[in-house]
Amino acid sequence: MVLYNLILSPALGFIIACRDITFILSRTLVICLKGPYRIREILQHMHSIGVGSLPIVAIATAFAGTVVTSEIAYHMDAALKTVEMIPGFSAQFVFRELGIAIPALLLVAKVGASTTAEVGTMKVTEQIDALRLLQIDPIEYLVFPRFVASIVMVAVLTVISIAITLTCAISVAVLKYNFSTLEYLNSLTHFISYLDLICAVIKGMVFGAVIPIISCFYGFNCTGGAQGVGTATTNSVVTSTIIVIVLDFILTFAFSLIL
């Protein structure tokens, strides 16, 4: 019994969760290929995810860019007694990590939580069952538009956050460390190539795909009223965050082989 409670039950739960997530993902991909494409819903979610999250992403990445550039400069000065490499190091960090991970994690917290809460509430109030009764596929109606909107908008927000972070990094380098903007941009090209931006966008798209799938999975499996919705939301955010970080590691490793 102890063995069952400690190992078998969680393992079984994990396997079932993986099966369900795979089913949701594969069904969504099939809809991506076959349709129907709910353009209005997709645009609505794109607005909610992209335009709605733009202010928080902009503020967070702006401050992150400022802090990271200052930190890099401080440590570089302490260890190497020079700050000449600030453009290269800060730009590389922005393009490969900061500009991608911060918006993704913010969207996990904002969009993931709201999606799980919304779908979870629909589940506990039996609206999803009602959809099924009306011959409407819940994945087609709830997951697919969010999936497409999230992929596009996380990629978009990644590019915008890279631009904002880079602008702040340039500002710090120019105002505090007497670099000129052209000098910064010129040094940047030695460290960053266009492939970095492509890899960043791919990473953003992968993270964008993870958020709605995990959130909807927890929403669909929500039980027990308001408390259940709260628990599902928390679990969704935690799981999505971990998956984003693990995928970040895997993708960074994979891209390091080609960059």
Binding site: H47, V51, L54, V159, L188, T189, S193, Y194
Partner: protein, 268 residues
């Protein structure tokens, strides 16, 4: 004016598109306004140059390395005076440079691979050619100048150090003996110098000798000055004539006379 949700999404997507183009331009991936020409430069050793490395003409960045590939050139590519080892240049770099800068790149321009900056960035330096030489045209292939092989230099230094070690080990006895002898020699020289330094007599003698030398040089100076005067010149001339007159006479007797009288000493 209140924008609709769709318009806001469109605006966001449009902004992202513009940013992507700006990034692409910034990183040199594309520039719709740039007019450039490309050449192929071949090397035996590229010294770490990479795709995207800058190309400079007369020290100014005007282009970049577009592509690097291996190829086997035919014999027609080699120059007539090239040694067999110089014929094969297996690396071909496609470089693009701006049209303005390409005006100065001639067939006799040199394509060096140089190192710059704190991070040791590699770049291709193109020296402008001469007016007499024809322009390098789009798509033409030229031979670059291979950079020095630092790795080879290091390995050769290791080889040299090994040989020196071998020589030392083989002649260890002789070398030790030579060093010992040198040590003894320097000790002896040291002792002698110390002895000289301590000897008072040597010091006084040496001082006397120097004083005498000073006096002699003073006298010689006066004599030389006098001989340069009109009177001195006349005297020398008369003496010369006198000697030639005496020449046919008994030379031995004259010489003896002069020696006895000490004239030679006084005159010369």
């Amino acid at each position: 004016m209140k924008l609709s949700n769709e318009a806001k999404v469109g605006l966001l997507l449009f902004t992202t598109l513009i940013l992507t183009v700006v990034f692409a331009w910034l990183m040199g991936a594309t520039n719709p306004f740039k007019r450039s020409v490309h050449f192929y430069v071949t090397y035996n050793f590229a010294g770490g140059i990479e795709v995207g490395s800058p190309v400079r003409v007369a020290g100014i960045k005007v282009g970049k390395v577009e592509k690097i590939n291996f190829f086997v050139p035919d014999q027609s590519f080699s120059t007539p005076d090239a040694k067999p080892s110089e014929v094969l240049t297996p690396l071909r770099l496609k470089v693009s440079i701006s049209k303005e800068a390409a005006e100065g790149v001639r067939k006799d321009s040199k394509f060096f691979i140089n190192l710059a900056g704190i991070i040791g960035e590699r770049y291709i330096e193109v020296t402008p050619g001469t007016f007499e030489s024809p322009k390098l045209t789009n798509g033409e292939t030229v031979r670059g100048i291979d950079p020095p092989r630092i790795d080879q230099l290091i390995s050769q230094s290791f080889d040299l150090a090994g040989k020196i070690k071998e020589v030392i080990e083989e002649n260890e006895g002789d070398i030790t003996k030579s060093i010992r002898l040198l040590y003894q020699l320097s000790a002896n020289v040291n002792k002698t110098l110390e002895h000289i330094d301590r000897s008072k007599m040597f010091k006084t003698d040496l001082a006397q000798l120097i004083n005498n030398l000073i006096e002699i040089t003073g006298d010689v100076k006066v004599l030389t000055a006098k001989s340069q005067s009109e009177e001195g010149k006349k005297t020398l001339e008369l003496l010369y004539k006198l000697l030639w007159r005496l020449e046919p006479m008994d030379q031995d007797a004259v010489r003896k006379f002069f020696q006895k009288e000490g004239i030679r000493t006084r005159l010369f």
